[in-house]
């Protein structure tokens, strides 16, 4: 039977590839036969991820996404891409009364501006092949109203809007742009946020299918990158184990 999720012969960039979801996605993508370029800040952890990948020809791109000059250098060294997964992101719970410009800047710089800028650079340099699939990892928070998530949710909401516009602009080159909006997935990023375990356990109880794993989201990433989704663009797929159904 044909493997509809095969990524054989493709070259895929994964940002935020040194940990959490990005690290798992990179392994799954390589497992489908693609060459993967891994982008993140920490070279040592990137190398560790690379060592976990099946196949040959994977690249490590050490780059701080929030530094425009480093982004420019990274874009310069990139080989043409058939897929991009924007996975780098941070999260911090900040009640509105404690929002500060500095916190807004940090969240939006990492979760939104840097991804847009990198995409712009890659497109300008014609490093995104015709027919490429671009996948943003958004969040179901962007569609909900969870207390304390103002900055995170709105940075992801910006992605949801960008996806539709980019899809419209890039369709002429047969490029597709979509987002996945996962619910809570246990990753290092989540452990690093200031959410307490009690709140976390309460949240888990609100997921009819339980909390997700990075692999659950990874399967959707594979679908979005593969030819199986060639007629899908401009969409934000909610993937949350039923969390948002009764809200």
């Amino acid at each position: 039977m044909k493997n509809y999720l095969s990524l054989q012969g493709k070259h895929v960039l994964v940002t935020g590839a040194s940990s959490g979801m990005g690290k798992v996605f990179a392994q799954m993508i390589a497992g489908q036969g693609a060459r993967v370029s891994l982008l993140a800040r920490n070279e040592e952890r990137l190398e560790q991820t690379r060592n976990l990948l099946e196949g040959e020809g994977h690249n490590v791109v050490c780059c701080d996404l929030t530094d425009e000059e480093q982004l420019r250098q990274a874009a310069k060294t990139m080989q043409p891409l058939d897929g991009i997964v924007f996975c780098a992101g941070i999260n911090e719970f900040v009640p509105v009364r404690f929002v500060k410009q500095e916190k807004i800047d940090r969240m939006f710089q990492t979760n939104y501006f840097s991804q847009l800028l990198l995409l712009q650079m890659l497109l300008k340099k014609k490093l995104v092949n015709k027919g490429a699939s671009i996948v943003f990892i958004s969040s179901v928070s962007s569609l909900m109203g969870v207390q304390g998530t103002l900055l995170y949710a709105s940075s992801k909401g910006a992605i949801n809007s960008a996806v539709r516009v980019l899809a419209a602009e890039l369709a002429v080159q047969q490029m597709r742009v979509n987002a996945i909006c996962p619910g809570i997935v246990r990753t290092e990023m989540l452990s690093a946020t200031n959410i307490d375990e009690e709140t976390f356990t309460k949240q888990a109880a609100q997921y009819p299918l339980g909390l997700g794993t990075p692999e659950d989201v990874g399967h959707a990433v594979l679908f979005h990158l593969s030819e199986a989704s060639r007629w899908l663009t401009g969409q934000c797929m909610v993937m949350d184990g039923g969390y948002s159904l009764s809200r």
């Binding site: 900040v94 009640p95 404690f98 207390q147 304390g148 200031n194 375990e197």
Partner: protein
């Protein structure tokens, strides 16, 4: 930094509880309006007013306002 000022800062996150109802030995989780959001707001208040970061564990280990004050003092060194 004294505990009176800390209690005033703590109270600034509350809507239904007057500062006069609070004392160092107040078990803050027993306040009617206490929610997990208040825990986040308290951490944010400490970060803003005292320039140190309380961890979720610090919050969990504290029972009274004085516990929070003491942890904050310790973090400030």
């Amino acid at each position: 930094m004294d505990i009176k000022e800390f209690i005033e800062n703590f109270a600034s996150n509350l809507n239904d509880t007057d500062v006069s109802e609070l004392a160092p030995e107040t078990a803050f989780r027993e306040l009617d309006e206490w929610t997990s959001m208040m825990a986040l707001a308290t951490m944010a208040m400490v970060s803003e007013e005292y320039d140190v970061e309380l961890s979720p564990e610090d919050m969990r280990n504290a029972n009274t306002i004085e516990d929070l004050f003491n942890t904050t003092m310790k973090l400030k060194g």
